[in-house]
Amino acid sequence: MQEFEPKIVAFVCNWCTYAGADLAGTSRIKYATNVRIVRFPCTGRIDYMLILKAFQNGADGVIVSGCHPNDCHYTSGNFHARRRWIVFNELLELLGFDKRRLFFSWVSAAEGAKWANLVNEVVTEVRKLGPYTEYEKLSKINVNSIGELCNV
């Protein structure tokens, strides 16, 4: 049987993780092809409802990654991202969502190797979990209304 190839989406900030992934490229560090990067100016911009949207659209795992604490290009965007992340996680728990498919990590512009490792680890983890199949459940949720409710 062919091995399951999970689909991974990474929501990353432009200044740290996107540049870190660029560095992985410049350094020719090889990693799994399963990841697709969506670029944001800052993790502070990331509307976490997009994560549910990604799962609805076929993702099996999601990475959110930005600058290390104190390193944010915009001073504090990553702090707000982190704060909302906590609220969002509680919401997911409420929904009974399998949070093992979600990954949060700090990758700086200098950490090309860390990025490659992160992708490989996530792919291995999600491969163990198998394909995400509960998207029907998500489709019934009006993501926007819940987003407003929880202010995430």
Partner: protein, 666 residues
């Protein structure tokens, strides 16, 4: 109806060796909305750009996706080409096929598949792109230079001589930096202070330069052209306007046994002090941590003897706010000290010293007036061992990089010793001799051939003391790894050059990135080596990576050119990727205001024609907004959006990520 053009670049073989570019172009041609799709060897070349321009005009494209390298590399290039063809440049997007795909994967089906998907994502995004127009902002034509070493001095003088104002901030009581501490410089052996001090004086006297010594950066806000900086002027306890620099206070100060930083701990200074005779400014400060008056409340001798009544104990730190248009970080470096080396005695042997200490011992202005005397007993050493790569190129010690300057200064040290003591025995333990640079290798050869310095290829395993001698245990790897034990009177470790201990903190204040060793990161390792990723902030010297004097000076002048080029314009155009508010839906909760790091959100009152208030809504100040988007994610009523990363664009991207799954109910 969208008419999108897709342009797939081979980047020579950088992309095409693992991605089937023709196939990507073919797949893309079938994406809805794509009316033109082509692959080409070098999209960024003139013919490549012409391909795009011609297609825009011929096919009346409404959007362009260039699938090539990272947008951090060539986005400006392709947006410019797009604009030249008459299409708004912000209707051009890049899919990152090189850094994020071809370079990081092997040649297999999934790599080409991924490349095609990346293109699809950007095609969907660009359909929702809008025409945007650059924002114009004024420029404050004053530069801030942080650090008064040779890098900062050079940058400041170059900028000031071009007719612009410069503010220099130095944390020590004098400018001069590490170079002021050196005895002679390689490869010419000219006296370091002799060539440096005229520059220091020039800085002090330059009409365009304002100098703050004994001062640090408190905070930095704003953006290119419009930074707002707060400088903390530490209390000097001496009124420098009144002080004549007579030095009577220093002479009378009863506390005289404080290890002297300028002499790398090898000499002593008083609690009120001028770091060195040629200091600029040549006026003292009081070191409050060691002054009896500040510790115990009594003494006051300096105040009593001062003929100019310049001693002001009550002086306090002062916060000075300045507006600047550009910032140059030239904060230099530090070195590891001998206590970093367990196998070389944890610093317990007084005669195992670091390179900077040797400079002070060899310097005519040093604690021994240029006579080489070892610290333990003042004896003049007959045999000195120099150890290169002490801590550098040593992953086990957390410093895998080459410190770059050690090979040269070690050769210089050995030479200086041999010049002072012709019969002395100089031994250098080294791993490789890295003497790339004009007249550099010749210099090392001179040390070996003319000055009879014994170079042994091998790393020293340990040093111990026996009967007043230091026993240095190594091997000669060029002689069958034969064990070598040398009895030395003194050992000089060419210790690793490291980032300043506070460099991380400063980087965070400046919002610039730094590498794992806390050196500041340049915007591009090859093509933008003096700029940082934060527009308007540049680098000079060893705060970026270990560098010698000529490299530092070159970079400083390069940085100055960048600053001057920026100041040659009266207005600056900024990318309009900023937030905007939908007045119709904004409920005026102002949650956004509380999270905006730039205080860019103001209140706007919406009134009827008769002047009655309808509601108060948020308004983004386009001059202040930097486009982080935190407000967008936080807005409950989804009334804020951000150009370039609009909700529509990003939802379109996410929806296009994968081939949509088939599932019931939808």
């Amino acid at each position: 109806m969208a008419r999108i053009g897709v342009f797939v670049c081979h980047c020579g073989e950088n992309i095409s060796s693992t991605v089937d570019c023709a196939k990507v172009a073919e797949i893309a041609s079938n994406y809805p909305g794509v009316v033109y799709s082509i692959d080409y060897k070098y999209m960024c070349s003139d013919p490549g750009q012409n391909l795009i321009k011609e297609a825009i005009q011929k096919h009346k494209l409404t959007g362009v996706v260039v699938a090539a390298c990272s947008p951090r590399m060539h986005e400006p290039t392709f947006r410019k080409a797009t604009a030249e063809a008459g299409l708004n440049p912000f209707l051009c997007e890049m899919a990152n096929l090189r850094e994020h795909c071809s370079w990081v994967h092997f040649r297999e089906d999934s790599t080409t598949e991924k490349a095609a998907e990346l293109v699809r994502v950007l095609v969907e995004k660009v359909k929702h792109n809008e025409e945007l127009f650059p924002i114009k902002v004024p420029i404050t034509k004053t530069a801030l230079v942080i650090g008064g070493g040779i890098g900062g001095i050079q940058a400041a003088l170059d900028i000031a001589n071009s007719g612009h104002k410069v503010i220099m901030v130095e944390k020590n009581p004098s400018i001069g930096g590490k170079m002021a501490q050196l005895s002679e410089t390689f490869p010419t052996l000219d006296c370091s202070q002799c060539i440096l001090t005229p520059r220091m004086v020039e800085v002090a006297q330059h009409p365009n330069i304002t100098l703050y010594t004994y001062a640090e950066i408190e905070s930095v806000d704003g953006f290119i052209g419009n930074f707002k900086v707060t400088i903390r002027q530490k209390a000097k306890s001496v009124d420098h306007k009144a002080c004549t620099g007579c030095g009577l206070c220093i002479e009378k100060c009863p506390i005289k046994k404080i290890p002297d930083e300028f002499n790398a701990g090898l000499g002593n200074r008083a609690a009120i002090y001028v770091p060195f005779p040629q200091a600029v400014p040549n006026k003292p400060v009081i070191d409050r941590n060691n002054c009896t008056y500040f510790l115990k409340g009594k003494c006051g001798l300096c105040k009593k003897v001062c003929p100019a009544d310049a001693i002001h104990y009550e002086q306090e730190d002062e916060l000075i706010k300045v507006d600047v248009g550009a910032i140059v970080a030239a904060t230099g470096f530090d070195i590891k000290h001998s206590d970093f080396f367990p196998e070389y005695g944890y610093g317990k042997y007084a005669d195992v010293i670091d390179g900077l200490q040797f400079e002070r011992l060899a310097s005519a202005s040093g604690p021994t007036l240029g006579v080489l005397k070892r610290p333990s007993d003042g004896k003049e050493p007959e045999s000195i061992v120099f150890i290169a790569c002490a801590g550098s190129r040593d992953p086990a010690k957390g410093i895998p990089y080459c410190s770059k300057i050690c090979c040269m200064y070690t050769a210089k040290h050995a030479m200086l010793f041999k010049h002072k003591n012709h019969h002395g025995k100089a031994t250098v333990f080294y791993m490789d001799i890295r003497a790339g640079g004009k007249m550099y290798d010749e210099f090392v050869r001179r040390a070996i051939e003319e000055d009879d310095v014994n170079y042994i290829r091998g790393r020293v395993s340990r040093i111990y003391e026996k009967n007043g001698k230091l026993i240095v245990c190594g091997v000669d790897t060029l002689l069958n790894s034969r064990p070598v034990e040398i009895e030395a009177d003194m050992v000089v470790l060419a210790t690793a050059a490291i980032a300043n201990s506070d460099s991380e903190e400063l980087a965070q204040k400046l919002h610039i990135s730094y590498d794992p060793y806390h050196f500041f990161s340049e915007a591009h390792p090859k093509l933008r080596p003096v700029e940082t990723n934060t527009a308007g902030i540049m680098l000079a010297g060893a705060c970026q990576a270990p560098k010698d004097i000529p490299d530092t000076v070159s970079q400083a002048s390069g940085t100055a050119a960048k600053v001057v080029a920026l100041f040659s314009q009266d207005e600056l155009t900024r990318e309009p990727l900023i937030a905007y508010v939908n007045n119709n839906t904004c409920v005026g909760c102002f949650l956004c205001q509380s999270v905006c790091p730039y205080l860019a959100i103001e209140k706007e009152e919406i009134r009827r024609r008769d002047g009655t208030l309808v509601k108060t809504v948020a308004k983004i100040n386009p001059g202040l907004c930097q486009g982080c988007g935190t407000c967008v994610a936080l807005c409950r009523s989804k009334s804020i959006d951000i150009h370039g990363y609009t909700n529509r664009q990003i939802y379109a991207e996410v929806s296009a990520l994968f081939n949509r799954r088939e599932y019931a109910g939808v």
